[in-house]
């Protein structure tokens, strides 16, 4: 089975000439399906740039990047339809849930399959199943504004998972939550990773959840350093 994420020698340069800044200087990373890894680093270390490259929202300057064995960037060549790539193969969980405020819980989740061309009825059925799996099925018809922070984050995870992408990028998903809820979110991410064989990269500064990762990538000055984590139960 190919790795869910395989990156080698990835670089990203902003600007040109004397003003050029190398945000990534040859990043290497491998994440297997069903694995949850942490990505940790100080501000300005290149975490967000790496996340944006992985999320196919900015183009790397050089290197190679493959998702589930399929190259999406290879030294200047890039997959043509990045929008479809993001929709079908990458899930996003943000620091804040960023749910669409004018859609109810079900439609926030169902929107992704709908964008992929799935009928409304089927998309809503998938959404309800995913919400039930994340233990927020009872709030399926509620407006998102009526949900607690933890519930909103679970809905955001359901949205990231509903198209069953091979990878999920989680950008500080526990930052606004207290310890209990933060660990609950990590527990859910681990369960979902196992259940759907999804690779999840969690960018975090959160000391509470760092010990839960089995593998951690430290990023400093645009380079990654791999480290074995404690893998403590969340």
């Amino acid at each position: 089975m190919p790795a869910a994420i395989e990156i080698s020698g990835l670089t990203k340069r902003y600007g040109v000439g004397d003003a050029a800044v190398d945000a990534l200087k040859g990043v290497d990373m491998i994440v297997q399906p069903g694995e949850v890894v942490g990505l940790i680093g100080p501000s300005g270390s290149g975490k967000s740039t790496l996340l944006k490259c992985l999320g196919a929202v900015i183009e790397p300057s050089a290197g190679r990047m493959a998702l589930a064995g399929e190259a999406i960037y290879d030294n200047g060549w890039q997959v043509a339809d990045l929008r479809a790539l993001r929709r079908d193969r990458i899930g996003f969980v943000f620091q804040a849930p960023y749910l669409i405020p004018f859609l109810d819980v079900t439609d926030n989740v169902a929107l992704l399959p709908m964008l992929a061309g799935v009928s409304n009825a089927s998309a809503r059925e998938r959404a309800r199943a995913m919400l039930t799996a994340l233990d927020v099925g009872h709030r399926a018809r509620a407006p998102v504004a009526q949900l607690s922070g933890g519930e909103q984050q679970r809905v955001a995870i359901a949205r990231a998972l509903v198209n069953q992408p091979p990878i999920i990028l989680a950008d500080e998903p526990t930052a606004p939550l207290d310890s209990e809820r933060a660990l609950a979110v990590v527990r859910i991410l681990n369960e979902m990773a196992q259940r759907f064989a999804t690779a999840i990269i969690v960018v975090t500064h959160d000391e509470k959840i760092i010990p839960t990762f089995r593998r951690i990538y430290h990023i400093r000055d645009g380079r990654t350093y791999e480290e074995a984590g404690e893998g403590r139960a969340a």
């Binding site: 996340l51 669409i100 004018f102 964008l115």
Partner: protein
Amino acid sequence: MINLAGRDILNGWGKFLFTGIGLGLLIGVTLSMAGIYRGLVDDGRVLLSNGGADLWVVQRDTLGPYAEPSNVRDDAYRALLGVKGVAEAGNVTYLTMQIEDQGKDVRVMLVGFQPGHPGEPGYLVAGRPITRSHYEAIADIKTGFRLGQRIRIRRHEYTVVGLTRRMVSSAGDPMVFVPLRDAQEVQFLKDNDALVNERARTAANPAFNRPGVPGLLEAVQASQASSRTVNVVMLRLAPHADEALVASEIRRWKHLEAYTRADMDDILVAKLIATSAKQIFMFLVILAIVSAAIVAFIIYTMTLNKVREIAVLKLIGARNRTIAAMILQQALGLGAIGFIVGRTAATLWAPIFPKYVLLLPGDAVRGALLVLAICALASVVAIRAALRVDPATAIGG
């Protein structure tokens, strides 16, 4: 696929509705301006049709009686009746004046006419026609006069015996119809002091007061104190008579100007109210531009308030056309609400206007299409802004 625009509108329907109402009031003003213009034109046309005339005979080289002053001898109608094709003739005078009604001035157009001849009011909504030779009047209901009310016009009191509707001058002044002789007196007869002065002045003039010509002074004074002129002679033609031919005969042989209904329509619409129409049109253009600017600003602001949602939508794979459609539909929705509110408001406040406001269904359809077109155009700026939103905005850093 979910209708994102519809959901967004339903989610914040209060804000959306109030914005639509605000825009609607502006659209209502725009529609009212169009209605005022239509009312001006329609008032003119009703003025022509209610008189029941086919030809208007006025002083040569004038555009009378509505656009320019015109004086025609009041016995000219006899000669005109002799023209082949003329069935009826009626002398008519017009005079714009103020009439006092219970301490308030009412501006009216006083019309002198011959009952039973062209120029009389087209129909009555209350009361009866004028049956006496003097001191009876028929008033347009916009004057505010009531049946049986006595109104003072110069030196005499008149009883309002009938009421009519939609009989106003091109300036919008309601008409008061009185017998021709009374109107001529009002129009041309001077007050007593002026008559005494005029008689003294004439008596002092040796040309009119010759010792060897008895009766000359009295004849001159009598001619000064009476009027034998009218402003227009209205003609009704015999069936199948060619109005252009009859008009041409009158111009050629009677040394008068004759206008057909089409000519009068042209004089009223193209000449008399042309400046007012241009004024209203300019105001309409400015209002349309202001409305477009306001819609553009509202839609742009609404879009900027959703930058984060748009970034998330783009990040999770929404097509540009999905986002553009959402903004366009909202703009059109706003326009639709605005138009409905505007049309309703214009209909409700039209009767309050002192002048007739005519809201034509055709204008409403054209207005609706224009509003939707303006909204679609105004949404372009917001769509461009939305399409420039970087999906990376949704990711921190």
